[in-house]
Symmetry: C2
Subunit: 289 residues, 2 copies
């Protein structure tokens, strides 16, 4: 059975208000559609942890750069609604772009600093678009809890910062990245890959695991970890590296020496397809000798 | 009797939640303290129109430029609490700066375009600070209705735009500017004026009323209205004009010819004191000849 689909703010708020009157807590899973097992795992977490699950499906134009894949981004709506129905979603919010960005729209949320590194350095304006649309979705749905995937690690960090800084009354919960058997993180953009690129794309996860094993083996120099990850990706046929980074998980800045919680993150292009992945690593304490 | 004062987000939310459980609607009057009759009129509007009235008193550092009057801005807290008590305010939210802007704070709201003209052109970053703190106050208090004075006309326009663009679930109501008998708009900054400056300061309102009367007399050339307002202010002893503007009330842009609703706005310095004022005028339809 397909879930109820709301296209307007008003319909969405009415459905959520009705759920609240029934005493239900509200969970939101913001998505751009093209739902895969990663999204399904977020929906299942929302089902377990809240009483009324809203999935938003909106390919947000403001987070795409002028030469990015906005127009070709997959939009298999009927299939997405079937996934939502199967997973027991209560409400799908699927607005038109003009509903979200009416004429004269001019307000943006900027998470300064965090938005400028890694993905932000390669995709100018990306996180401004992300922060703005996420805040709008939070204000439209007014959920108790919102669910995001660790796959978009920098996005998660930025959303958490925005929520804290702007006192947004929503709790953010982050679910683990869902991976294919060979380690590739699930992504709607994996559908763009041809079979050879798909084989090469395992290099992202392999590089991250290589970085992790170096750190677990005692390496504390971020340059060496970065270099090893970059080399691992460079060895994959057809892979073009945008970045391989090792940053403090909190500040997203490059540390001089590894300690505490760090994020290993990579972005790689295969032809016109761009993939990202990351892992968090708690650097073991090293006793000084 | 002094009202309850909350210094933290948690206390504030608890008090508001208790009011909501009693079935009360919630009104918010955001202020920087140094309360005068203008603020009192907002509080009275809130009392009439909502069941639980919150006044925030917070001199917001992010809306002051580096060379502005942040440190000398008046902070007569005990007097303000007496005003709030007398006017029947239910809760005063009076946070420390570090509560509103904890270490690492980095998220800002930008209302592009509208924030760059008039006050924004003279006070870089001012409206970024305003929009950010207003959104935070909305998220902390979660009022049904928030009350602002028309005195800060551009601020009102920007807050309305932010609320619409970000789908903030708060209704914004705007109350008329309260004026002294000689027309001077009440402002906490009037306290800085010496007696001679105080006399000269009537030029702001006089210039706006001159502009209004020119338009009502048939003038449709914004340059002539601007020029007349600037000349009127220039004639006041000690007055230094920052701007005299005639803009479309919606876009805040200078029109080629006056029509629809326009805002006449002036900013004038007397020594180190800077005053602003504005009026909205509905330009009468002119029949073509």
């Amino acid at each position: 059975m397909n879930p109820t689909v709301a296209a307007t703010v008003e319909e969405t708020r009415q459905a959520v208000a009705a759920a609240r009157r029934r005493g239900l807590s509200v969970g939101l899973v913001p998505t751009m559609g093209a739902l895969h097992e990663g999204h399904a795992s977020l929906i299942r977490a929302a089902r377990r942890q809240t009483g009324f699950v809203v999935v938003s499906i909106f390919v947000n134009p403001t987070q795409f750069g002028p030469h990015e894949d906005l127009t070709r981004y997959p939009r298999p709506l009927q299939q997405d609604l079937e996934v939502c129905g199967r997973e027991g979603v209560d409400l799908v919010f699927h607005p038109e772009p003009a509903t979200v960005y009416p004429p004269g729209f001019c307000t943006y949320v900027e998470v300064t600093g965090l938005q400028d590194v890694m993905e932000g350095a390669f995709r100018a304006g990306h996180f401004r678009g992300v922060a703005t649309v996420v805040l709008k979705l939070f204000n439209i749905v007014q959920p108790d809890v919102a669910f995001f995937g660790q796959k978009d690690g920098q996005q998660v960090r930025i959303v958490r910062q925005m929520v804290a800084d702007l006192d947004v009354p929503v709790e953010v919960r982050v679910c683990p990245t869902v991976r294919a058997a060979d380690g590739l993180a699930l992504s709607s953009r994996n559908a763009y890959l041809d079979p050879e690129q798909r084989r090469g794309a395992t290099a992202l996860h392999a590089a991250l695991e290589l970085g992790r094993s170096l750190i677990e083996g005692g390496e504390r120099d971020p340059e060496r970890v970065r270099g090893a990850m970059a080399a691992r990706i460079g060895a994959a046929p057809g892979a073009v590296l945008d970045y391989a980074e090792v940053v403090a998980a909190d500040s997203l800045r490059r540390p001089d020496r590894l300690r505490g919680r760090v994020m290993l993150a990579v972005a790689v292009r295969f032809g016109s397809t761009r993939l990202i992945d990351n892992v968090l690593v708690d650097v073991p304490d090293t006793h000084s000798v």
